[in-house]
């Protein structure tokens, strides 16, 4: 990683998830100067929270490792974490971007030895584990976090824990006086790759998320599968900590619904199909999955994954938009009520756990975007001449799976390069 000087020939990438990382690396490996900013203390984004990828059932951190190695080896990329955009001014080929860098309270001296973590005692919800696990006030965001540097939670500043962390560090890496900074960067083009957030399941009132303990989201299930996650890699019912073996998946939880997200989030069908295989991985023939769906959208070449799951006798499919969920008071089982539209049968099915396949909501401040830009009703940035040299990548542009997000990011990197090459007079 280098110390890139921002000029109007550099490319600013906003968001350090798979799309932003890809856009940054692909542009840098073309020889361009890139600044990658991320609001969290480490890059990686949503993919770092996933257990496996469909359809290969491989691990996201495997590709992340390659990408991190590419970043470490490339002098054309500068990564800024804990950084958010506050203002964008200027025009294509000449932007001035103001960013706010929040204090990490840990400087470059940090060796990630972990002594500060040992010294502190207070615990907080761990956002990486979606609040399902606690972490201390001095922490490494996750095992593969890059930069590999600890973070001091602002919540412990001024407390005993803060002084303990400082005292524990032999390398003078803890700096409790660190302040938020405002930094101005120049850029010729901007790649907007701020990704997505899971749709807030609490808003789907009939499904009882947060009211019934055994209603969880698909992202929460991903965390449960992590051997270092909140349940040590087991699928446990929040109500009693027992292993859930009979699991329902509700598709389009918040998607394809005018009351919620009116678009289809694309990934959730494949995500649930993938998650049914987690049951087989954990329990062999003892697990049972039921997928309640409207259409199974295992698009194009990966339809064979759906065919494989369909062939599994322990996975069944019910074409139905589940009407509501109730709870069996005796055992906290969830009861799904609705009508199977294939043959119009009413059902009232009891399961150990229900997983809501919550949709993708683009993380774009639709009403507070720092620049005039075309954002459609679904919340995605549209390609538009009027956007100047601000190019959306990944889930800022569309609801995409990883493969397509990477394509999109690679495409946006070229669009940015076209602009900076024009600035440099290279296109002539």
């Amino acid at each position: 990683m280098g110390d890139v000087i921002a000029t109007n020939q550099s490319i600013l990438v906003i968001g350090g998830g798979i799309s932003g990382i890809t856009a940054a690396i692909e542009a840098a490996e073309c020889g361009k100067q890139v600044i990658l900013i991320e609001k969290e203390p480490a890059i990686g984004g949503r993919i770092s929270q996933l257990y496996k990828y469909f359809p290969k059932m491989c691990h996201p951190t495997c590709g992340l490792e390659i990408n991190l190695r590419r970043i470490k080896a490339n002098k054309n990329i500068r990564v800024m974490t804990l950084t958010e955009v506050t203002d964008v001014a200027g025009k294509a080929g000449d932007y001035t971007v103001t960013v706010k860098v929040a204090p990490r309270y840990v400087n470059d001296n940090c060796t990630a030895c972990g002594e500060c973590n040992k010294a502190v005692t207070g615990e907080f919800d761990d956002a990486f584990h979606l609040g399902m696990k606690k972490r201390k006030g001095a922490y490494l965001p996750y095992a593969m976090a890059y930069p590999q540097r600890y973070v001091i939670d602002p919540a412990i500043i001024g407390s005993d824990d803060a002084s303990k962390a400082k005292a524990a560090c032999k390398f003078n890496a803890v700096d409790l006086e660190m302040k938020a900074q405002s930094v101005t960067l120049k850029a010729g083009a901007i790649i907007w790759a701020t990704g997505w957030k899971p749709y807030d399941a609490e808003k789907i009132q009939p499904y009882g998320y947060k009211r019934y303990p055994n209603v969880v989201t698909n992202m929460e299930l991903e965390r449960m599968m992590d051997p270092f996650g909140p349940t040590g890699g087991k699928i446990l019912r929040p109500s009693d900590g027992q292993e859930a073996r009979n699991i329902a998946f509700i598709q389009c939880a918040g998607s394809r619904d005018k009351n919620h997200l009116k678009h289809c989030s694309r990934i959730c069908c494949m995500a649930s199909l993938k998650q049914t295989t987690y049951l087989r991985e954990k329990y062999g023939d003892e697990g049972k999955a039921t997928v309640y769906y409207i259409d199974i959208r295992a698009i194009d070449r990966i339809d064979d994954f759906y065919q494989k799951v369909q062939a599994d006798p322990n996975v069944s499919f019910v074409k139905s938009k589940v009407a509501n969920i109730t709870q069996n008071k005796e055992n906290s089982n969830v009861i799904l009520n609705g009508v199977n539209t294939e043959g119009y049968q009413r059902y009232s099915n009891e399961h150990d756990l229900v997983v809501l396949a919550t949709g993708m909501e683009p993380s774009i401040p639709a009403n507070a975007f720092p620049m005039k830009i075309t954002i459609n009703e679904n919340g995605f940035i549209e390609q538009d001449e009027a956007n100047g040299a601000i190019f959306a990548a990944g889930c800022s542009a569309d609801a995409l799976d990883v493969n397509r997000a990477v394509q999109s990011a690679t495409a946006s990197a070229l669009r940015a390069i076209q602009v900076v090459n024009r600035v440099a007079g290279m296109e002539g």
């Binding site: 490996e29 495997c62 064979d304």
Partner: protein
């Protein structure tokens, strides 16, 4: 070892190393055993002061080879990078003190572990040369696009916008491809409500008016030779005129062929003219010129139309396509709108099994279809029969759970896309060598079928993956093909619609530009991006056995007239599979060689047979197994102090000679840790792990000849998340050795 090498060994005392280890002893090992020229300890080596210490030795003492004995090679990479200096890393933190208990009993073996990693780091760096880059690296800064459809045209226009010269080779007489056959396209902008202009004419116009783009119509590639930066391509016109041009990179946008609907007689195709494919309906819509669409059988205005989705697709039936073509659902909605927009009274029924309109806008378009009165029926069509010119569509209504039928004036079949991916090089016709005429004919058939006609030893086209598509197989790196500098885009890669093809082609253009730039600088492409090394071989030792040329996962190596390997540096991805394959140890890289690994394993201290201190050699893939081992350390999981771990670029680079050497020098156990192989391979060099497993299947002979137990050598597939499993496997090997006893080969 060249005389001008000056080796500095730096031992860090930070992060508990100073407390847990006798660093004076480590320094002495570096100096006396490993023969480092300069040896220094530092309390906090990655600090500004520590780095200054090293830099000072580089500047003033002439140190040009540095062994950092501190943390893992994955940590503190920014700090431990020095200009023009070869660096090795001895992993004392994640690899020693973090995997060993801090107890008195453990102290001795922990120290021995650290001593060995110091020896290994110093002996490795002795055999590293900073890659000087390929002096022959050069690049032609223009690129070739094969195929003039929407994908190809988009790639060309986008690359030209970035300043590059582009040539498009199109085998037909016009640009446009299948896209030009469309009446309209599915919209890609809000409000996603109505069919939109295809954009094909605008693209053609943009190309015709662009000085950077040259178009070769009625032309194909009859020969593609060379490598990234210098592909020499024969472009031959229909009349036989051939022009040879040089390109830096190639984009293959050879598109798709519509599935042959004649294979679907049960759906009435070929029996009734009023059964058409989606693509044929586009022509009917164009012919209608905005007026009423007429059916082909009798020219009657269509008043009712049934769309049969997944026709011959998503089906296990022989001759059908097993996959979904991705675009047909939205295409059917668009086509139903052709009718509804001209006359809302026309009945349009889409009979589908899963309606697939994903992502931004897809659902809006579906809703718009519903608003316009298009009917959607979840059902499975079993037959389409001619009923006096009209058509009887028989299907099972999956909602009402009953067999039913309807009459329609016209039936539109959603048939799929078949990739134009050329010759399947893994299943090529074998020439029998007896019948010269038959062989020549077979060769010609193959030549005509090939898209690229590569002169590569491994075959004329890119390897096919699933279902005949040239997709990359990787999720994280979808553009990475197995032929460096050649990128596929559009439906040749996987089925896709226009919006996706445009996005895909723009990305492919970037990759091609990147390949051009990398080739010019002699840099490797993904995943070892930027690596300036390349394989070289000792010609006099080579036995022309061809293993390297056969096993290279990227088809980088050809053979010259005398059957010696020709490495084609800019095609190389630096995995080292050739080095692993070579039975006579003549292939090496400047920064990775038989010696840089071999000397590490030889310089491990080997206690005698009666010491109860076995040695386990672990050769671990640097991308998955090694990080997993690191993270085991970060999690403070313990493993046997008898393991000595050496990261390798890929298991494919592991040469059996290392195994033999290790067994001969007294290792009690050897473990190879690579990535998943097979259909869902995770090996970043595609075939490396598979090759290693294959080679290791033959190691039993070596073991037998040494009278050693087969349990002493194990090969594992390891994922990066196997953080608990890797220490367990090592400990199990230590137990196995406890059971079967020490190796007698200690000298």
């Amino acid at each position: 070892m060249a005389a001008d090498k000056k080796i500095g060994a730096y031992i860090c005392k930070g992060c508990g190393l100073g407390e847990r280890l006798d660093t004076k002893q480590l320094a002495s090992v570096a100096q006396k055993d490993a023969k480092a020229n300069v040896v220094r300890e530092h309390d906090f080596l990655c600090s500004e002061d520590g780095i200054k210490l090293i830099q000072n030795d580089i500047d003033k003492e002439g140190v040009n080879h540095v062994a950092i004995c501190a943390c893992s090679r994955r940590a503190k990479t920014d700090a431990f990078t020095f200009e023009n200096v070869a660096v090795s890393r001895g992993n004392l933190r994640e690899g020693v003190i973090w995997v060993r208990p801090d107890t008195d009993e453990a102290q001795e073996t922990t120290q021995e572990m650290a001593d060995d990693y110091v020896r290994m780091a110093v002996s490795e760096v002795k055999f590293l040369t900073l890659p000087g880059g390929n002096p022959e690296a050069k690049t032609e800064r223009s690129l070739l696009v094969v195929g003039g459809g929407i994908s190809g045209m988009t790639a060309a226009v986008e690359a030209a916008k970035a300043g590059y010269q582009v040539h498009i080779v199109e085998k037909t007489a016009a640009l446009g491809g299948n896209g030009a056959k469309l009446h309209k396209r599915v919209p890609d902008h809000a409000p996603f409500a109505a069919p939109a202009d295809t954009g094909v004419e605008a693209l053609i116009k943009a190309i015709q008016g662009n000085k950077k783009i040259t178009v070769h119509l009625n032309s194909t590639l009859t020969k593609t030779d060379g490598a990234p930066g210098k592909f020499a391509v024969d472009i031959t016109t229909e009349s036989g005129k051939t022009d040879t041009k040089v390109f830096g990179a190639i984009i293959q946008a050879s598109g798709f062929t519509p599935y042959d609907a004649n294979k679907l007689p049960e759906l009435g195709y070929g029996k009734s003219k009023n059964v058409v494919t989606q693509l044929e309906l586009e022509q009917l819509a164009r012919d209608a010129k905005g007026g009423a669409i007429k059916r082909p059988g009798d020219g009657k205005e269509v008043k009712s139309v049934a769309f049969v989705q997944c026709a011959g697709q998503r089906s296990e039936q022989e001759g059908h396509l097993p996959y979904c073509s991705g675009h047909c659902c939205t295409t059917a909605i668009k086509q139903a709108m052709y009718f509804k927009d001209s006359n809302p009274a026309i009945d349009t029924n889409v009979i589908y099994s899963d309606l697939r309109t994903p992502g931004n806008g897809g659902e809006d378009f579906y809703r718009s279809g519903q608003d316009k009165g298009v009917t959607f029926t979840k059902g499975k069509v079993s037959a389409v029969e001619d009923s006096g010119g009209d058509l009887r569509v028989k299907f099972k209504d999956l909602i009402l759970n009953e067999d039913t039928e309807e009459l329609a004036d016209l039936v539109v079949l959603a048939t799929g896309m078949v990739a134009n991916s050329g010759v399947d090089i893994e299943n090529m016709v074998k020439l029998d060598g007896k019948d010269a005429a038959a062989d020549a004919a077979a060769t010609q058939v193959q030549k005509d079928k090939s898209v690229l006609n590569l002169t590569y030893r491994q075959g004329p086209d890119l390897p096919h993956l699933k279902h005949g598509f040239n997709d990359s197989h990787f999720i994280c790196f979808p553009y990475e093909t197995r032929r460096t500098g050649i990128y596929t885009t559009g439906p040749v890669r996987r089925p896709m619609d226009i919006a996706q093809a445009i996005e895909d082609a723009t990305g492919a253009a970037l990759k091609a530009i990147q390949a051009i730039e990398n080739a010019g600088l002699g840099r490797a492409a993904h995943p070892r991006s930027g690596d300036l090394s390349f394989p070289s071989f000792r010609r006099e030792g080579c036995t022309q056995c061809k293993r390297c040329t056969v096993e290279c996962p990227f088809g980088a190596i050809d053979e010259d007239e005398q059957r010696y390997p020709v490495f084609n540096e800019s095609r190389c991805r630096r995995c080292g599979t050739c080095m692993g394959a070579c039975p006579v140890r003549v292939i090496s890289f400047e920064n990775y060689s038989m010696d840089s690994v071999g000397q590490q394993l030889k310089n491990v201290d080997m206690p005698d047979e009666f010491s109860e201190k076995p040695r386990i050699l672990v050769l671990a893939c640097e991308n998955d197994a090694y990080p997993a081992l690191d993270m085991a350390g970060m999690t403070r999981l313990e493993y046997s102090p008898f393991a000595r771990i050496i990261p390798v670029r890929c298991l494919g680079s592991v040469n059996l000679a290392w195994i033999t050497d290790a067994l001969n020098s007294g290792y009690d156990g050897i473990m190879l840790m690579g990535c998943q192989k097979g259909e869902n391979y995770q090996c970043h060099f595609v075939k490396g792990s598979e090759m290693a497993h294959y080679r290791m299947s033959k190691v039993d002979d070596t073991l037998k000849s040494l009278s050693l137990e087969p349990e002493r050598v194990e090969t594992h597939e390891i994922a990066i998340t196997d953080i608990h499993r890797v220490p367990e496997l090592i400990n199990k090997m230590a137990e196995t050795i406890g059971r079967i006893g020490m190796s007698p080969f200690k000298f």
